[in-house]
């Protein structure tokens, strides 16, 4: 899969295969199936670039993005998915003291972003 990114974000290419995922179901699954260290490394690499990534992506209409920009959007949607695990849940992949999340059926889960 072509994981090319604009030169300014080339250090994030290594995360693309695992984290640039087009559906929420896939992003939830990766959250559950990664280690705390993997999530932290992804968070630490992408968070400082978030402003710049959004500024770059905001140049395009949401429904007419070039493919590499769309995949970059998918990457930061994965950041949105795991940021609470780092910022709120002390590294836990799942929400502490909560219902079994696999029992929540998401009607929108396979919707492509």
């Amino acid at each position: 899969m072509d994981a090319s990114l604009p030169q300014e974000f080339s250090e994030l290419v290594r995360f693309m295969d695992q984290w640039a995922l087009p559906t929420q179901s896939e992003r939830e699954s990766v959250r559950r199936n990664t280690t705390q260290q993997e999530r932290q490394a992804f968070y630490d690499a992408v968070t400082p670039r978030l402003d710049a990534i959004i500024a770059r992506l905001d140049r395009f209409p949401l429904d007419a993005m070039p493919e590499d920009a769309r995949r970059l959007l998918h990457l930061i949607l994965s950041l949105a998915e795991i940021a609470p695990t780092v910022e709120l849940y002390r590294g836990s992949a799942t929400v502490p003291y909560s219902f079994d999340e696999t029992r929540f059926i998401a009607v929108h889960g396979d919707r492509h972003d």
Partner: protein, 402 residues
Amino acid sequence: MKPSNGKHSLWAELYPELGTEPIPTDRCFSPEYYALERERVFKRVWLKVGRVEEIPEPRDYKVKRVEVANTSILLVRGDDGQIRGFHNVCSHRGNKVVWGDDTYGLRQRARGRAFVCHFHGWTYNLRGELVSVPQAELFFDLDRCANGLTPVATDTWNGFIFINLDPDPRQGLKEYLGGAGERLEGFPFEQMNRIYEYYTVLNCNWKIALDAFSEAYHVATVHAGSFPGVFDAAVKQVGMHGPHHSGAAFQKPAPNPGPVAKLSYSLATSSIAKPGSRSSLPPSVNPERDPEFVFDQTNIFPNYMIDVSDGLYFTHQFWPLSIDKTLWEGIQYFPPARTAGERFSQEYGQVLQRNAWLEDTGTMEATQIALSSGVKKVFHFQDGEIMLRHSYKVIEEFISRA
């Protein structure tokens, strides 16, 4: 309205008719009480079953299993644009005409302009009329006009589709909603068509689930993970509207978000963790435009909640499946994001809200098991749990009407 004299006042002083006594717990595990609720509550009121955006065009349909009334409901948009509701039962031998338990938010379209029963091919048009019976000549005095699909009272309010299982509803929908509906008029529900919908079966009585979402007292404990120090523990702006009620959640000053959360909030046009500065709220909601306001909840009796915030809304519904099983549907509605930044912010807010719902549902099944021991005879509701108290009282009123 709450007195605005700056002094603390109890909701009980404002609504003395609701009393302050403990409430019996067996209403949540007694089969007799469940049977009464089924007959005298759920079969006599307007029940929300969908949104018009789910069936936007002629020939679109939605199936909804309404277990508490032992029926399946078929909602159809006709060629004339009108939405009609029917019991999904064939007039021949009672087969289910359109299969599936529930189409949820996924759009379905009828083939052609008809529904064909897959047992003997009886065919109904989009108005529920019986238009074709194979080998009709073999039937005895079969009046096709009298054997269409049995209609169910169906109406819409601000894009929400309701049915009433009473063959002769006592009130129209608008009258039933009364002040609860009036106060939400003007909120741009129809603009919020980017939807995130969850459902699951909770192994608890429907009221256990409803109660858990109807007060702010739980937030400091249940949401210590997702919303630490974010929300005020006291429910605000409580209002009673006939069988319905409303209340608002306020934030505490100076939450301390992490970097991703912080950026998400700064970009947000819609997040309950960060109130917007634009106001799409109707005048009756947060009437004094208190800046600490986060969202307003209207509980439409018996089992539907509409929560509005500046720039988004979300809903909860609790369908009884049995005395200790409930189909919960939690839906978040956003306006479509216009930019990548808004899209990111929306995703963050939506994920966080989902996580909060995982926290909310986390206690319910254990509560049901513990309650069913029968050891604790009463619930003790504090002043801020007045919405729960009102709900139990209204159920009792309906049950007492034979």
